[in-house]
Symmetry: C2
Subunit: 211 residues, 2 copies
């Protein structure tokens, strides 16, 4: 008989760190500076994708100066990084997984530089991570989740993804991983369950002892 | 036979001006500075209420230093007011209503000071307004809508409210005014229709010629 050998893939932006609304404002400023007028609610819908996907999704396939827009977003986001905080229960969930010996990896679309700022906000750098700079394509492509799972010696079909965006749900669905969604990204239950989330809870605190 | 004599009540924050995400970040900073940790998705849910309602909703009925928190929010919001822009079609909708001689009033929970910054962003100050400082209780209390309707010599049951938040929908329902919602505040269709919105469109552009 096969034993159930759980593992957890944790999204960082919006899930462990309360950063989605700050990303929206940083992208809004970067896009306006680049001459693009995109309503913030549309920007919000795109948060959770890596920059390589977010910009074509918002502006169309052939975006001029995409690198410059990404750099400008990163600069503005990092400029206000001291406003970032952990989501409720984020550190408690990490400690809980360690305590119960459930292997986990933080799988994030963030660049290495943003990753450092997010871990500062979270309050620990002592975490296994797979970030956007370690794979070809960021979320919603499944590459990042496959990279994360490869770091864990557990069956992928026993893994659970914890994320805040429909893009996390899409990536999880592509690799057959169960998705548990948190509301902290502000995406709304309907979009999360439509995207494939098995369940929706407020924040990581609600998952302590349950994964 | 009664003639149909339409009029329009326009919300400002999030409806004519793309300001909701900026409000979230300003409240987040103000609340943290005041020692309160409220997740941004919860702050977002409260945007659209006046400060007098928003703070008790987020922090409980007996908030210490509520005026100080409100002032700090206002200071931080106004500090970044140059990042605000009109939503798509906002000015076109105003011009359209004028052209078709449909009377309208901008009904906003904003304080007089914020109102000026929002009208700067919108690109016109030449608008009839009812703001939070002109009534006892801000949205979702119906006072503001009643004040706005009083400025127009039209039957309230023929009026349409255009807003972006469930709080607009609640205020409209209380006075029996039809509510048309725009998505620009990022509230999600489900919450808007659950709140009582008759229909949901992307932004004011979709309403030009239709109210």
């Amino acid at each position: 008989m096969d034993t159930y050998r759980p593992s957890v893939l944790l999204d960082l932006d919006g899930t462990l760190v309360d950063s989605v609304f700050h990303h929206v404002v940083a992208w809004d400023a970067a896009l306006r500076a680049g001459g693009y007028a995109v309503p913030t609610w549309r920007i919000h819908e795109a948060i959770g994708m890596g920059s390589d996907r977010l910009l074509p999704w918002l502006l169309g396939e052939h975006v001029g100066a995409a690198d410059k827009l990404s750099d400008e977003h990163k600069r503005r986001f990092l400029e206000h990084a001291d406003a970032l905080h952990a989501t409720p229960g984020a550190l408690a969930l990490v400690e809980d997984l360690r305590h119960r010996e459930v292997p986990f990896v933080v799988a994030t679309s963030a660049s290495t530089e943003e990753l450092q700022a997010l871990l500062d906000a979270l309050g620990t750098h002592d975490l296994p991570t797979a970030d956007a700079d370690s794979v070809e394509a960021a979320k919603p492509a499944p590459d990042l989740l496959l990279e994360a799972v490869a770091q864990i010696d557990r069956p992928i079909e026993h893994a659970t993804m914890v994320g805040d965006s429909p893009w996390d749900a899409e990536a999880a669905r592509m690799v057959g991983v169960r998705m548990v969604a948190v509301r902290c990204g502000g995406f709304g239950d309907r979009r999360l369950t439509d995207g494939g989330a098995a369940t929706v809870v407020d924040d990581p605190r609600a998952l302590v002892g349950r994964l």
